[in-house]
Amino acid sequence: MNLNITIDFLLSTQIRAGPQPQAGAGPPAHAGPTEFARISQQQKVVNFFSNTNVRRSTMQYFKKLKATGILFALVMFAAGMQTAMAVGTASNTTIANTATVDYQVSGFAQATVTSNNETFLVDNRVDLTVANVAGTNVLPSSTDQPLTFTVTNTGNTTQGYALTATNGAGDFNMGNIRIYIDDGDNIWEGIGTETLYVAATNAFDLAANATSVNVYVVADTPGTPTNGQTSDIDLLATTLNAGTTTVTTGLTDADPNTAGVDVVFGDAAGTVDIVEDGQHSAVGTYTIAITPLTLVKSSVVAEDPFNGTTNPKAIPGARITYTLLVTNPGATDATTVVVVDDIPANTTYVAESITLGGAAQTDAEDSGVPVDNSDWNVTNPGAITVNVGTLGAAASVTITFDVTIN
């Protein structure tokens, strides 16, 4: 005797085929001691109909992850604030030092003597930090997916920056990679709001003292990758002379110093650049994250011919109510969710007993005249079919129907 449940939804479906241990197993959470006998009866019914299958169905994907994008932008904003740190004395600052000496000769105090004023000029230490704020979970075939980075001037001089983003390691490559500069609020608001970076130009000048800006790598996900696969993108920033597209050149240790402001590279090595090269880079990761819907099935004996609704037993003629709880644990809407459940052998469907979210549904196939979204024995012979439609992020819906034991 099989009780087959099918659930179709527009995600790369991950409901596993095979018996579902949750299907009616165990007492309801609210069960008190007085309900013990009834639960024992339920358990028998459950065991009787325990071979529940969930069939895998249509694989499609849906597109935008707006809510997720905003979430990451907020995370990024908070992290951006944390990067601020003391950076250092501004270049071209003169550091002066004068010593004094007091002394006596033959017991007589002498006037204080002052030394020369020893000065030097603070040079330009070019230092920058590119950091990825967080990875981004994406769905296949999704466009304009942002990956948030920060670019921070950790040097002591105002500098400009050129940016490049390239596919790195991973299971697949993102397509149509672009770079957007934040419009000032450090929140990703979409390609219509942020500023598209034009290659080989100066993206922005950043003042010294750990000034940072959010930079978004934006790319499209191909349709091929599967759940859990990743794609790395490296963002590389190159230091430019402020207000220009001229790449800043630094002195090497061997170069003679000048009396003016010398340029010294003090940056660390990034993911695709070396130490002290005036560049820094970081990697961000796109991860295909398809959250499968969950389906929990339970049943109760509603009544039997002898006891009525008082402690009903699962005997022939008894009415069993099945409850299907469909949950979308993901962060995005699941669309065109369809739940199909075969009526178990040795039972008979109770006409007009389907409910969806507490609302009674008709058994007729109403697609032509959409009175409701459910039918019995029409779309799928011998089964109920319930068109749930869109199931929002973190939302769930309850479906019930009744059968009688033959």
């Binding site: 003391a86 950076v87 250092g88 004395t89 270049s91 600052t93 550091i95 002066a96 030092n97 004068t98 010593a99 004094t100 000496v101 007091d102 002394y103 006596q104 000769v105 033959s106 017991g107 007589f108 105090a109 002498q110 006037a111 003597v113 002052t114 030394s115 020369n116 004023n117 020893e118 000065t119 030097f120 000029l121 603070v122 040079d123 330009n124 230490r125 002591n156 002195l251 240790d253 110093n257 000048t258 009396a259 010398d262 010294v264 003090g266």
Partner: protein, 159 residues
């Protein structure tokens, strides 16, 4: 101009203190240490004038007192402010035969590091750290003979 002031101050002290030909000349030099690799691949630390200094660089200040007079100078105390934008490197002050004390109040008072306190943000006193020092004082335990040069050192890091 500076040398003029120095010369005139020397003359002044000669005239008013009545100690003709007794004077100390004080010279401050800022240097940095660089590591050079010679032809044999041997690394050598070399001191060069502080012309390449970026935040984080340690600068070595050498203050040399020279007795240019013809009489010994005594009770010598050399004072040097920690330059603006720089922080004293803990434990770096040195001077042979000198007692070294520090100031955390702009040079008004000096004491040993373990006796110096500053107020924290809540107004409670806490032990001063190298970052809190404003001045260093070297008190010479010896007399500086005519012609003798006595250098003292300290390191400070550019903030």
């Amino acid at each position: 101009m500076k040398s003029l002031i120095k010369i005139s101050s020397v003359f002044l002290l000669m005239l008013f203190a009545g100690q003709v030909l007794a004077a100390i000349e004080l010279k401050t030099v800022a240097e940095i240490e660089i590591t050079e690799t010679d032809e044999k691949g041997k690394k050598k630390v070399k001191r060069v004038p502080a012309t390449r200094v970026v935040p984080g660089t340690e600068v070595i200040y050498t203050i040399s007192a020279k007795n240019t007079g013809n009489k010994a100078a005594e009770n010598i105390s050399v004072k040097d402010p920690i330059p603006e934008n720089m922080a004293y490197v803990d434990g770096s002050a040195f001077g042979a035969g000198t007692a070294i004390t520090f100031s955390v109040d702009g040079g008004k008072t000096y004491d040993k590091p373990e006796k110096l306190t500053v107020k924290n943000t809540t107004g409670k006193p806490r032990r001063a750290t190298a970052d809190d020092y404003t001045h260093i004082r070297w008190t010479f335990q010896f007399k500086l003979k005519p012609g003798q040069v006595a250098p003292v050192w300290f390191k400070a890091k550019l903030k």
